[in-house]
Structures are given as C-alpha cells and as structure tokens.
C-alpha cells in the first residue's frame, strides 16, 4: 500500500475544522492509502542548531533528543511526504520550516555534481517524493510560486521530485480534494 507522511505545520487551531475534515477523508481512503499525519504543534520538536553531529559525530543520527526521530523514520519509509502549512508571512510556518531543517540527517555531508549543481550525496537508497499543500484562502499565485520554488529546490537536494504542489482553502470540501491528490 502507498505510504504517505503528512507534516501538518498548522501552528494553532485556526484551521481545525479543515484538519478534522482531512482526517475523515484520510479514513475513507484507508484501504488504498496508509497515511501518517504528524501534527507538529502537539509534538516536542526543537530547531536545528547546525551542530553537524549528524554529519561528523554520529553519522545519520540527530543529537537532539525530541520527537523528531518518529518523523524521520516515517519520511524515510514513505512513498510521498507532504508538507501541509497555512501561509504565514508569505511563507510556510516556522513549524514547517523547522522540519525541513531537521531532515538533514537523511542527507550525507559529501557533495557531488547533480543536474549541473553541487548537491549532497544520498545517505539512503531512496527518498520519498515531496508535496506541498498550502492553505491560502486568497489563492495568491505569485506568493505560491515563491514557496513552491523553495520546495522544488528542497526536492532536488533530496534527489527526489515535487509532483504535488497546490493551494487549498480551508473548507471541508477542499479536504476531499487534498486527500485525492495524495
């Protein structure tokens, strides 16, 4: 069964109706999709401190003792990892960005030329496809392009791709669209 990891970066309960509708929709697809949702605001996860322990002291292992290892295992086991975030100051939330930073134990410090650019060497054999679902009731296309561009870059760095990127509003009907896009 296809495995999906959802990183829910909603910082507060503003979109809780949507979040519940999303859970209901995921439940409807449980025979075809195995979805794991991480609600970051209920988890204890610190910011990356840039210590490089995961690169040079304990290869592949983050030195911060918090809830992040569950996410790292889930991301690594998933076919697709999707970042769900409301627009915050024209970007994704700090909660969401924090998780991107904390993915670096999955990469290797060595660099190589990949698609004509320097990128990190793979640590794992494969990485999930990435997706971004941006909650933006205003559906501002220019703003979205800036955010999507960052996640496209991130997908290149993880030797992966970004097959899913869309803006959604936080209505219940949109939750169904979101889940069918997974």
């Amino acid at each position: 069964m296809r495995k999906i990891t959802i990183i829910n970066g909603c910082s507060d309960g503003t979109h809780s109706v949507f979040e519940e509708a999303l859970s209901t929709e995921i439940e409807k697809h449980k025979t075809t999709l195995s979805v794991e949702v991480f609600k970051l605001r209920d988890m204890n996860i610190g910011y990356c401190t840039g210590c490089w322990s995961c690169w040079v002291k304990t290869p592949g292992l983050c030195s911060i003792k918090d809830d992040m290892p569950q996410i790292l295992r889930s991301v690594e086991a998933s076919d697709r990892t999707v970042f769900l975030s409301p627009v915050s100051m024209d970007f994704v939330t700090a909660q969401t960005k924090k998780i991107c930073d904390r993915l670096i134990p999955l990469a290797h410090p060595y660099i190589e030329v990949y698609r004509g650019e320097f990128h990190h060497v793979k640590r794992y054999d494969s990485y999930p496809e990435l997706g971004v679902l941006l909650i933006d009731p205003e559906k501002d296309v220019e703003r979205f392009d800036v955010i999507r561009n960052v996640f496209e870059r991130l997908s290149i760095n993880l030797k992966s791709s970004l097959p899913l990127s869309m803006m959604i509003d936080d209505t219940e009907s949109e939750a169904a669209n979101a889940v069918s896009s997974l």
Partner: protein
C-alpha cells in the same frame, strides 16, 4: 542613523554569519553618525527583542546561513513575530545577507525572491540581498568586499548593486567546471574536509550509517 544587525545563525557567535556581520559593521563604522546594535536570533527571547526593536531602526540587516534552500527555522520564527508590523515598517530599510556552504549563488535565489516579498509585506524599503555563496571559505578578498558593502551602505541605505555580485564566487558551474568537479567528486577529493572530522571522531567507517531506515 541606527542600524540593527540580526545574526540569524543557529550557531550564534560561532559561525560565518558572525564573520560577515563583523565585516559589515567595520565598514559601517567608517561613516560618522552610525550606531549599530547586533542581536543574535538563536535564543527565543532575543527573537522577541529583535521584533520589538526593528521599528525603531533606520536600517536593519538580517544575516543568515542557507538551511535547506531557505532561512533557518529560527529565522522564520523571528519573521512570524513581525506579523503585527505588516505594512507598517514604512521608513525602515531592510536588507539581507544569505550565505551558503554550496559555492554557487544559484542555491540562494529561491529564498532571495521570498525576501523581496517579505520586505514589501512589511512596508519596508528593500536594501537588497547579498548572496555570499561558498561561505565555508570566506577569503580575505571577499571579506573585504563585505566590508566595502557596509562602508557604502549609509549613502542611500541600500547595498551597492555593483558590488553585490562580488560577494559571491560564481552563480553556477560552467560546463568545464561541471566536468572537472564531477571527476573530483568521484575520486573523493572533495570529501577531505568531512573525512578529517569523521576520522577524528572515530566514525569514518560508519559514515554511511542509516539509523532511520525501517
């Protein structure tokens, strides 16, 4: 003129952001009537402080390392604390220095586009973004460029656009460099920087460990 300099590195004082910041300050202080204050954003309380003080500055410069193709999480946390000031930082000039371990400027262009948007969201004037790619080896020559950027900043409170490109080594790899670097990477020549520490820490043999695999 009051300049606020934000160090957005999670490593605080112990990193390349601080080196860049010190060079900028040195240049700035060659002008009379310049006062500077540095706030390091690696503590939650300092991010609050920085958000409270930004409105009182004439010019604010945010220096940060590129983390997974954008700003570090702590910098985004600081940016979220600026939400009450949307459209209201009207007289402020806001500039950025983004530095990356990757030697090409290209990696920082995605976040640069965001920084332009952020400045306009706050209603501030854009002082420009300096991309200092290849910050793991910030040569004396490039540090001099950064000092000069600081020295010229007070004139119009924007980074001199003619000088900005000199803070980076190159935008992207040329065809010849792709060929050379591909060979160098394959032979492992580019790994020595990391191998030194991996060996010192006694974990060289485990360097490809996969602790989060199923």
């Amino acid at each position: 003129m009051q300049y606020l300099l934000f160090n957005g590195s999670p490593r605080g004082k112990n990193g390349n952001s601080e080196i860049i910041l010190n060079n900028l300050m040195e240049g700035l202080h060659e002008s009379p009537d310049v006062s500077t204050e540095v706030i390091r954003l690696n503590r939650p309380s300092s991010r609050e402080e920085a958000a409270q003080k930004i409105g009182s500055a004439d010019c604010a410069i945010l220096v940060f390392p590129l983390y997974t193709d954008a700003m570090p999480g702590i910098v985004m946390d600081f940016i979220e604390k600026l939400a009450p000031y949307k459209s209201s930082l009207v007289p402020l000039h806001l500039g950025f220095v983004v530095h990356s371990g990757f030697p090409e400027g290209k990696h920082s262009r995605a976040v640069e586009k965001y920084l332009v948007r952020l400045t306009s969201l706050l209603g501030a004037k854009y002082a420009g973004t300096v991309i200092a790619a290849g910050s793991m080896g910030l040569s004396a020559k490039r540090q001099k460029v950064i000092r000069e950027l600081g020295r010229r900043l007070p004139a119009a409170m924007v980074f001199d656009p003619d000088l900005i490109p000199r803070a980076s080594q190159f935008e992207e790899l040329s065809k010849a460099m792709i060929l050379i670097m591909t060979i160098m990477c394959k032979t492992g020549l580019t790994n020595s920087f990391w191998d030194k520490d991996l060996k010192k820490n006694g974990v060289f043999a485990d360097r490809f460990a996969k602790p989060y695999a199923k």
